[in-house]
């Protein structure tokens, strides 16, 4: 679906894109800080994702940006113009709500006409823009339908067309794909990303799905309890999580607790119970350290691998996912470690009770702050 769609889509109008600054934004509900002193910059044309668990303040930040939530403190600027006190209808932002909020009493095309209608464009004058938007999301054939007569994915497309038809300065999306099934979600991720690339509009995207965030964003902001935990591009965040929370939330991680024990230019040693591990980087001696180790960065072999870090273990459980095996290996010294291996080149026999060796390079793991 994605390929044919790309070929047949009309060229979008080029539009100036905008930047957004959020400065020391806070929002209190009683004594609860839903958003706590958040500052961030969204450069023009970027795809920025707010990622965090439920209740971390993602929607609140988006709603404050859209003008639906009055911040308790802080400022929001569009291209250096303060917009903090502007009502939502004066901001010219496109917004795709969680659940889409398509007007149930209007047909698809009337829904898309609506933003133009309130800008004083008659239906006939708007016809061309509406048609272009509908084609942009491949919904032209369903223009006369009512929203209740559409599938979830189709509603999502209409909501997108409605948010884009008036050439907004910014597109805000609140978990637009969360109600869809996995396959459709994957298709629409591709489409959204290519739409962003072709329109050049600045996107701010909210999700609690880490895969979605990793696959689509130029930049990810990870939120926790209303505060920014870490931000950066997807690769930087995945490869170099700063805290245990990030390592755990973005992908999976094994955590190993130990004590630093001197080192050299290559790295330092970590004493974890009986075993001594080799870790890249540097660290003063005799400090408690927490190491995060991605399950896919471990190798599993029958014989002892020729790696600086190697430890024997026994398979305690495994799951088959088609493309990968997830193994749970009891190591004794380091507790249970989770390992993922490509199923098609799995060297070992993944049966419960089998003895295996786990190994990894010193730079496969990272030291994270425990919090």
């Amino acid at each position: 679906m994605a390929e044919t769609a790309l070929a047949s889509r009309p060229e979008p109008q080029s539009r100036a894109s905008h930047s957004l600054s959020i400065r020391s934004l806070s929002k209190y509900y009683g004594s609860l800080a839903a958003v706590d002193d958040v500052s961030l910059e969204v450069r023009q044309g970027r795809f920025l994702t707010l990622l965090g668990p439920s209740g971390s303040g993602k929607t609140t930040i988006l709603m404050a940006t859209a003008g639906f939530v009055q911040p308790s403190a802080g400022e929001i600027l569009l291209d250096d113009k303060p917009i903090t006190n502007l009502p939502p209808d004066k901001r010219n932002f496109g917004m795709v709500f969680q659940g889409y909020a398509l007007f149930p009493h209007m047909s698809v095309e009337d829904n898309i006409w609506f933003p133009l209608r309130v800008r004083g464009v008659s239906k006939s004058a708007a016809a061309k823009s509406v048609a272009t938007s509908l084609e942009l999301v491949q919904m032209a054939h369903l223009a006369k339908r009512l929203p209740t007569q559409l599938s979830g994915g189709q509603q999502q497309r209409v909501a997108l067309a409605r948010a884009l038809v008036f050439q907004p300065d910014l597109l805000l999306l609140d978990e637009p794909l969360s109600a869809l099934d996995k396959k459709l979600r994957a298709d629409l991720q591709w489409e959204l990303k290519s739409l962003h690339a072709r329109l050049g509009t600045t996107f701010i995207y909210v999700t609690h799905d880490q895969e979605e965030a990793l696959s689509m964003s130029d930049e990810i902001v990870i939120l926790r309890d209303g505060k920014i935990e870490q931000q950066g591009d997807p690769v930087a965040l995945y490869e170099r999580p700063a805290t245990r929370f990030v390592a755990d939330f973005l992908g999976k991680s094994n955590f190993i607790r130990g004590q630093s024990a001197g080192g050299d230019a290559q790295g330092f040693r970590v004493k974890a119970g009986e075993v001594t591990l080799h870790q890249a980087g540097s660290q003063a001696a005799d400090q408690p350290v927490l190491i995060a180790l991605r399950p896919e960065k471990l190798s599993v072999t029958r014989a002892r691998p020729d790696l600086p870090n190697a430890i024997p273990g026994r398979i305690a459980a495994f799951n088959y996912y088609g493309s990968t095996f997830h193994l749970q290996v009891e190591t004794g010294a380091l507790g249970d470690l989770i390992v993922t291996v490509p199923a098609w080149k799995c060297e070992i026999d993944p049966a419960i009770g089998n003895e295996v060796w786990l190994g990894w390079e010193p730079d496969a793991s990272v030291v994270v702050r425990d919090n």
Partner: protein, 278 residues
């Protein structure tokens, strides 16, 4: 077993159905029957509806009062429901209590309360005179004004409840979405909220209008014999002039008016939807 269970459920409504048949349907048929047999068989009673100016006048008065009452009640009811859907939980409970409170007071008490307020030398007139705004009593009682005031007051809950129940079901995100797409508060209300609250408005309109048509006590007391609506005239025909043929004919025509109203409305809207049958 399932089928027999279903039969048990049907049994549960049998007493209600019997009650309806004996005390409602049977008398109704009698009314219809008398209206075409008193004083002799034929449609002469109904001809009077066309030929007698007095009946025209009474019907016109009734329809006018009902229409005005309905418009005012539904408008005010909409405002109250709108406020109720927006205030906090505590205020909402208080408002709901106040609305239901009026249900517990008898119609009679409420009508007489209005008499106390509106009569010559009553609270309103004496207050206005005390403030020096008027010199003599304003004619507030025994006219259509008084009747409409009393009826609007009585009908308010009937308008508020269906409108509120519809409105509380409207997802607030629709109006937010409209605002975000560039609609002013008024445009968001006009294009989104109002159309979405149409089922509640229609239900309230039908309910209030149909109830008003047969209204008796309030017009009788506040109209004081000067403003005669159809049901009061039916009562007079039954009990004072003893013209049963005419009384039953008017009662039947009232019934037909209600059915006609429903039929007219049903042409334009899906009544099943309005009354929540689906």
């Amino acid at each position: 077993m399932l089928a027999s269970q279903r039969h048990t459920y049907w049994l549960l409504i049998v007493p209600a159905v019997l009650l309806m048949l004996v005390f409602y349907i049977y008398p109704l048929i009698q009314v219809l029957w008398i209206s075409v047999t008193e004083p002799y068989f034929g449609l002469q009673n109904y001809e009077a509806l066309l030929s007698r100016p007095l009946l025209h006048r009474i019907w016109l008065t009734t329809l006018r009062i009902c229409a005005i009452t309905t418009i005012i009640t539904v408008t005010l009811g909409y405002l109250v429901a709108y406020a109720m859907a927006r205030v906090g939980e505590r205020q909402r409970t208080t408002m709901m209590f106040c609305i239901l409170l009026t249900f517990w007071l008898s119609v009679l008490i409420r009508a007489f309360a209005w008499v106390m307020l509106l009569r010559n030398g009553g609270l309103i007139n004496s207050a206005l005179m005390g403030l020096g705004i008027i010199d003599g009593d304003l004619p507030l009682l025994r006219n259509e004004f008084a009747v409409i005031v009393g009826m609007v007051h009585f009908m308010m809950p009937l308008a508020v409840l269906p409108i509120y129940s519809n409105m509380s079901g409207i997802d607030g995100r629709y109006v937010s979405a409209a605002r975000g797409l560039g609609a002013s508060p008024w445009e968001a209300f006009w294009h989104i909220h109002l159309p979405l609250s149409k089922p509640g408005l229609i239900a309230a309109t039908i309910l209030v209008f149909v109830f008003s048509l047969g209204f008796f006590i309030t017009p009788a007391i506040l109209g004081g014999g000067k403003v005669v609506m159809i049901s009061e005239y039916i009562q007079v025909s039954f009990e004072e002039t003893l013209r049963w043929g005419q009384a039953t004919m008017l009662a039947s025509s009232l019934l037909f008016a209600v059915l006609l109203t429903l039929a007219l409305v049903a042409r334009f809207v899906d009544l099943k939807k309005v009354f929540g049958a689906r």
